[in-house]
């Protein structure tokens, strides 16, 4: 079935008519001039971008289906404009075998809201002791290319070195959760003046930066590529900038929440604001925005981390780390990066679609908006405003840090290989 998206602005530039047929972009005509399709969408005032790709999502299935399922998580993803997500390995059982990653991959296909690319665990059971069968996961139907013990740092330097080396055989990448474990035992929030005042155990920036510094040097030494998950401090941005200037094959991500929220939220002692790495200072927020703008930080990744209500409706110390992110990510990027003039829409497409697809080696995603390309697309109304209501989000969990907040820009429609997953802001 052919569909004409009329008067839509690719990357926010000159409006065109975009015709989708057979899962691909079939034609691009001057606005108002495309032949009628079987279906027509009036997209005047809307921007079209390649479907967003998240390199860092927790879907919780298998194991914690009370918090999220592949179905609910991918629905949230589609509503957030994503056409592919990478599902982190810290499920129960851990995604450390070909069997588990194939199950996750297949369940994603069944849900159908977006592609699910499982991330494989680096070590068996995330225990940090011996390598999981990375090759088997790479060769499985899930074609795993990203490996991570996310939530736990691969802190053993030898193990990290071996992992970096080993995945070269199938063009994989290790995505490191940079957190020196001894420096962060019992850590609850960013370490600084505020943690001292609040009496919450500090998570010092150096615990992140020391691991990043070590790992970029390891990657250089063994000639591998390394990806840094959710970096959060100015020092981390500086180290990545230095490493890239040196020619090291490193990529890095920042989360939407680290682009907009600061540690002051811990003064509420409300675990909704408890996340790992923790919210940092306004200066760190400024640094990650600069880093994302100048390309030091390659991508935005949500670290969407659903948690059951009882794991957040408690005192800070007992609360779980993590926040929802899929349905608010694009709005946060619009507010912090586009409306402030730091990124063009073309650059947003790069940071949220093209670059993550390249890092994850997902060939069919993050493609140019050209004739013949797969129709993985998102339509965005950049002027729309909406208010976050946790109860209305598609996730099974409600732990958004943005409850009640006015958000900038709204996803109107999402297309996965030409098929709408979201239309008029609702699941299609």
């Amino acid at each position: 079935m052919s569909m004409v998206i009329r008067e839509v602005a690719p990357h926010g530039e000159e409006a065109v008519d975009m015709t989708i047929d057979d899962g691909r972009i079939a034609r691009i005509d001057p606005a108002g001039s495309a032949p009628a399709g079987e279906r027509e969408i009036d997209a005047s005032g809307l921007i079209v971008l390649p479907g967003l790709v998240d390199l860092h999502t927790h879907l919780r299935e298998p194991g914690r289906e009370d918090a999220e399922t592949i179905e609910s998580g991918t629905a949230a993803a589609a509503l957030g404009g994503f056409t592919a997500v990478h599902a982190m390995a810290n499920t129960q059982p851990v995604a450390d075998t070909a069997g588990v990653v194939e199950q996750v991959w297949r369940r994603g296909q069944e849900a159908g809201y977006c592609d699910v690319h499982p991330v494989g665990a680096v070590t068996v059971g995330l225990a940090g002791e011996r390598l999981a069968e990375l090759g088997a996961m790479a060769d499985s139907a899930a074609r795993v290319r990203v490996f991570s013990d996310d939530g736990i740092c691969v802190s053993d330097a030898v193990l990290m070195r071996r992992a970096l080396e080993y995945v070269k055989a199938f063009d994989g990448v290790i995505a490191q959760h940079a957190q020196e474990p001894r420096l962060t035992e019992g850590a609850q929030m960013n370490e600084g003046e505020l943690s001292g005042v609040l009496g919450l155990r500090g998570w010092p920036p150096v615990a992140e930066e020391a691991i990043i510094a070590r790992d970029v040097l390891l990657a250089e030494h063994v000639g591998s590529r390394v990806h840094i998950c959710h970096l959060s401090t100015r020092g981390s941005v500086d180290i990545i900038r230095w490493a890239k200037q040196r020619g090291i094959d490193v990529t890095a991500e920042v989360t939407p929440h680290h682009l907009i929220l600061t540690e002051e939220l811990a003064t509420t002692y409300d675990p909704r604001y408890k996340v790992n790495p923790p919210l940092r200072t306004a200066d760190d927020v400024a640094a990650v925005r600069e880093g994302l703008a100048d390309g030091t930080i390659d991508i935005v990744a949500t670290d969407h981390a659903p948690h059951a209500h009882e794991d957040k409706d408690c005192e800070w110390g007992a609360g779980a780390f993590g926040m929802l992110g899929l349905q608010t990510a694009l709005s946060v990027v619009i507010e912090t990066m586009v409306e402030t003039g730091r990124l063009s829409w073309r650059e947003v497409a790069d940071r949220m679609s093209t670059a993550p697809a390249i890092i994850g080696r997902v060939e069919s995603q993050g493609r140019p908006l050209e004739v013949g390309e797969p129709a993985n697309l998102v339509l965005v109304d950049p002027r729309a405003r909406w208010h976050v209501n946790a109860d209305a989000l598609a996730s099974r969990s409600r732990n958004t840090p943005f409850e009640g907040r006015e958000m900038s820009g709204r996803v109107v429609a999402t297309f996965l290989r030409g098929r709408p997953t979201v239309l008029e802001g609702r699941l299609a």
Binding site: Q188, E191, G192, E193, L194, S195, G196, V197, L198, G199, L200, R201, G202, P204, T268, Y269, D270, P271, E310, D313, C314, E315, W316, G317, A318, G319
Partner: protein, 318 residues
């Protein structure tokens, strides 16, 4: 008038002085002959102690009983309370049972804040120590004791020099005292090994020193903090002996204080560690007085937080 007492920082100068003055009046009113006042008759105070603390629990119990409140003590120590949901469920239970005030001691920083602000309960919440955050009634009883000795039991502590020594990093007593003493005009210096001073302490409203002798010289009071054994195991300092030598209070050091300078300790003391027995039992020590004052100060806190409710006033008027 504040609704809860969660942090010593909640108190402005007038409010703090009003509590200290009330404590003074209550101390006089409950002298040898009359131990009990009818003020909170028919009202219920729940002591919710998730952490062992015999002295604070008993002090609050005594305070509430002397005001004729009904007191229920809930000690979760040893039970299966390890997750936060228990705090919420307990709060809902207390609310359903009609408690008017909750005195809470909890190992999680911010637990009292969470109890007060979460919407789980409408009770008045008094923080009796939350993790490594605050212990505001301890600061009030310390201020009361200091005021008694240094300012004739009236007004504030303007210009008085107070030194707080020890494990500042993990001490809720230190945090609350720094805030309250600064509100009352005192000049506070915190002293400890650099490993036991929090990152960012230079931003606190006090001076910071690693040199105890220097800080003590001419000071009006010194407050010694308990050093937990586990700090030593975590390598915050090399040995108990080295700690004592550098940061312990012995007679020689106590003599560096101003002539009438006093020695405080929130208890329980590690005699021979942060304080020698000689000083603990010596003429400058006001440790036992602190305990007595604790009851009066906690009476004052309950009186002011609970007594100001309109229903009580109308009752008193009828």
């Amino acid at each position: 008038m504040i609704r809860h007492l969660l942090s010593a920082g909640d108190l402005d100068r007038d409010e703090a002085i009003a509590i200290l003055d009330t404590a003074g009046e209550l101390a006089r009113a409950t002298g040898r002959s009359v131990k009990k006042l009818p003020t909170l008759r028919g009202r219920t105070v729940v002591n919710l102690f998730y952490e062992d603390s015999t002295r604070t629990r008993i002090s609050f119990e005594a305070a509430a009983k002397r005001l004729s409140a009904d007191v229920i003590t809930f000690s979760a120590k040893g039970s299966s309370v390890s997750k936060g949901e228990s705090l919420k469920d307990t709060a809902l239970t207390l609310e359903a049972m009609g408690a008017d005030a909750v005195v809470v001691r909890h190992s999680a920083s911010g637990a009292a804040h969470r109890l007060a602000m979460s919407g789980w309960t409408d009770c008045v919440v008094v923080n009796a120590g939350d993790g490594t955050h605050e212990h505001p009634t301890q600061a009030l009883l310390d201020a009361y004791t200091l005021r008694h000795h240094l300012s004739d039991g009236a007004g504030d502590l303007q210009g008085r020099r107070v030194v707080i020594v020890g494990d500042i990093l993990h001490s809720r007593v230190a945090r609350s005292n720094v805030l309250l003493l600064e509100t009352l005009g005192a000049e506070v210096t915190v002293v400890g090994p650099p490993t036991l001073l929090p990152v960012g302490v230079e931003g606190w409203p006090c001076s910071v020193s690693y040199d105890l002798d220097n800080a003590l010289t001419g000071a009006d009071a010194v407050m010694m903090l308990r050093v937990q054994n586990e700090r030593m195991n975590a390598a915050y300092f090399p040995s108990a002996r080295e700690y004592s030598r550098r940061y312990g209070l012995d007679r020689h050091r106590a003599e560096l204080l101003a002539p009438d300078g006093i020695v405080l300790h929130p208890g329980p003391m590690n005699r021979g560690m942060e304080i020698t027995a000689e000083v603990a039992d010596g003429p400058r020590s006001v440790v036992v007085e602190q305990v007595t004052n604790g009851v009066h100060v906690r009476m004052a806190v309950l009186y002011r937080l609970m007594g100001a409710l309109p229903e009580l006033e109308s009752e008193a008027g009828s």
